[in-house]
């Protein structure tokens, strides 16, 4: 078969029209097809050609053959086809070709209704799943604590290192920064009333009660909650979780409990660390903006805030830790099969954990207000 050697398939096509018959020369392929289509479309007013002469066709690919067979179906006769090209056209004609089905599309308003319904249904299921998983997690943690031999200290300490120790630098930086932000805003707002000294009270109280624990929890949800989901999710996708179950090892006990316990230990400590760094940031900002020395600053802090403020912040930490851990692990175990579901579950876990942390924080604020703390 004398196929022009070394020609690249994009080689040219030539179309010559002689009234009702046209001759196509050169290469008819997926790249030259648009040209032929245009040439035929431009003569549409003169109706379709009756015959197409293809004796000088050097190359034909399947897309070209498909086009020729569709022309033949419309009553155009193809003449001079080479045997190998005829074989190809016949092969394509022998295929059972149906048009591609259109994806079913709903009217816009119905789509909206369906999506809303789906959303509520998913939220309801989610709430149920979280509740169920919280129950299982509490049960598993309780059993681990009452049967200390079931505890896995090596695993717990690894997770404390990953979720806690390695988070120290970033938590320190964020706590200092948040104190600086509060400090600047307070000075700007209080100065017109001559109350800029109260900046110290604001920084100290808001860091101890709210900002320290909130920043830490959000950071941990982003760093460790996502890591929990991804780690467990990959194990799930590779059937490692199923392997544990078959070996009679409870995934809740080896995967979930150590992570939960590690977070329950690490997050309160991190929060205390964030409080200290936040107060340190307050000292920096007081020196810079108010020219208050460190000694004076800590004197003022002692007057403005007391141990109950610290306690209000710290008591929230284990609660946040528990929910961040539960949601991270739950979404990890929800991964099904494919690798892409690891990604979607991780995103969901982080969003849900941060959302829950903030909702719980609001609830705590109301609670402490009622309790007068």
């Amino acid at each position: 078969m004398p196929r022009a050697p070394k020609t690249f398939p994009a080689s040219a096509i030539a179309i010559e029209a002689h009234g009702a018959r046209i001759a196509v020369k050169g290469s008819l392929g997926v790249r030259t097809l648009p040209e032929l289509g245009e040439a035929l479309a431009s003569r549409r007013d003169q109706a379709m050609p009756r015959t197409i002469e293809l004796g000088a066709l050097s190359e034909l690919d399947t897309s070209g053959a498909l086009f020729l067979s569709s022309l033949r179906a419309r009553g155009v006769s193809l003449t001079g086809l080479r045997p190998e090209h005829r074989d190809l056209v016949e092969l394509i004609e022998g295929l059972e070709l149906e048009p591609l089905p259109k994806p079913r599309s709903l009217p816009r308003w119905r789509e909206l209704v369906v999506e809303t319904g789906r959303g509520f249904d998913a939220a309801w299921r989610d709430a149920y799943d979280i509740l169920a998983f919280v129950g299982r997690a509490v049960n598993a943690v309780g059993r681990a604590l009452t049967h200390p031999h079931a505890l896995r200290p090596a695993s717990i300490s690894r997770h404390i290192d990953e979720a806690g120790v390695r988070a120290l630098p970033i938590i320190a930086l964020m706590a200092i920064m948040i104190a600086v932000v509060i400090g600047y805003q307070s000075v700007a707002q209080l100065r017109p009333y001559g109350g800029e000294d109260f900046t110290i009270n604001l920084v100290a109280v808001s860091v101890l009660r709210e900002m320290g624990v909130l920043i830490t929890a959000i950071m941990v949800a982003g760093r460790s909650g996502s890591a929990f989901t991804a780690e467990i999710g990959v194990m799930r996708a590779r059937e490692e979780v199923d392997a544990l179950e078959v070996m009679g090892i409870e995934p809740m006990e080896v995967l979930v409990v150590p992570r939960l316990l590690a977070l329950l230990i690490a997050l309160p400590l991190l929060t205390f660390f964030a409080d200290v760094m936040g107060l340190f940031g307050g000292a920096l900002i007081s020196k810079a903006l108010l020219d208050v020395s460190a000694a004076q600053y800590f004197d003022r802090v002692r007057q403005a805030a007391d141990v109950s403020d610290l306690a209000v912040g710290l008591i929230k930490a284990p609660v946040f830790a528990f929910f961040i851990g539960v949601i991270g692990c739950m979404h990890g175990l929800r991964v099904r099969g494919s690798a892409e579901s690891v990604g979607t579950e991780t995103t969901r876990a982080v969003v849900k954990a941060i959302f829950l942390v903030i909702v719980l924080d609001a609830l705590f604020s109301v609670l402490f207000e009622k309790l007068g703390l």
């Binding site: 790249r31 097809l33 289509g37 897309s63 394509i92 059972e96 070709l97 591609l100």
Partner: protein
């Protein structure tokens, strides 16, 4: 069977010369040479971890060898621009590598959209034709890769590899993980495409049935060296390690199956 090569030209469409691939201190390929003639079906076989897939990636220009060169139609593969390479070489990856965010039809139309001037209305019939050629019904076209069975994934990926009518088709384990009937269907399909479209096929496999039933020549990768011969020739090789690969009860069964 041995003279399946359709060309009377001796000039290879794809040739590899002196390919060396090292991973750390391990020499996976030790100055490998391979010439593939237009219209041939060449099998690349070898034990697990012998570097078959790396060799295929090297031939596809996805892996740069430590030494040696790959030429397609006489031109170094590195010098081909993307559009040329797409028109010359189609690859079926082991796991299909279908884009999970696109439907099957969109997967097949992606190369058409990128590399041709076909209007979207003309792309759809072409995609439907490629899917039919690969043995998929039209209702599979709107499905997403996650909804497909293993055999359908291979067929859809094959349809995508054929989208631009490449001259050379590189197949990485086209029948792995498939039941014997589906695997046999894929073998038939490869042979049909080779017969009717004159596509040159290089297939990496350790499915002995595929090697015996469709390959005109087999390149066996043992200890970093390539031994190239017809399947029968390799079975009568003087080297025990080569004979061992292609004999034994499984090979006998595959040979018997082929004769029927």
């Amino acid at each position: 069977m041995n003279t399946r090569a359709h060309s009377n030209r001796a000039e290879p469409i794809l040739s590899a010369r002196g390919i060396v691939n090292r991973f750390g201190s391990q020499r996976v390929h030790d100055r490998i040479g391979l010439d593939v003639l237009p219209g041939e079906i060449v099998g690349i076989a070898g034990g697990s971890g012998s570097g078959k897939s790396v060799l295929l990636k090297t031939l596809a220009g996805l892996h740069h060898p430590n030494a040696g060169e790959v030429r397609v139609q006489g031109r170094r593969i590195e010098t081909l621009v993307a559009a040329e390479k797409a028109a010359l070489i189609g690859v079926l990856f082991q796991q299909g590598a279908l884009f999970s965010s696109l439907s099957v039809a969109q997967n097949v139309m992606l190369p058409l959209r990128e590399h041709t001037a076909l209007p979207p209305s003309a792309q759809e019939p072409v995609a439907a034709m490629k899917l039919a050629l690969a043995g998929l019904a039209a209702d599979a076209a709107v499905k997403f890769p996650s909804q497909l069975s293993g055999g359908m994934v291979k067929r859809a990926a094959l349809a995508r590899a054929l989208a631009l009518d490449p001259r050379i088709l590189l197949l990485d384990e086209p029948t792995s993980g498939l039941d014997p009937i589906t695997a046999g269907g894929i073998d038939d399909l490869i042979r049909k495409l080779n017969d009717s479209l004159r596509i040159t096929v290089i297939v990496v496999t350790h499915d002995l049935a595929t090697l015996f039933s469709i390959c005109s020549r087999v390149a066996l990768l043992v200890d970093g060296k390539l031994t190239i011969d017809t399947p029968e020739g390799l079975r009568q090789s003087s080297e025990a390690s080569i004979r061992a690969f292609l004999s034994g009860p499984r090979a006998e069964a595959a040979m018997t199956a082929r004769r029927h």
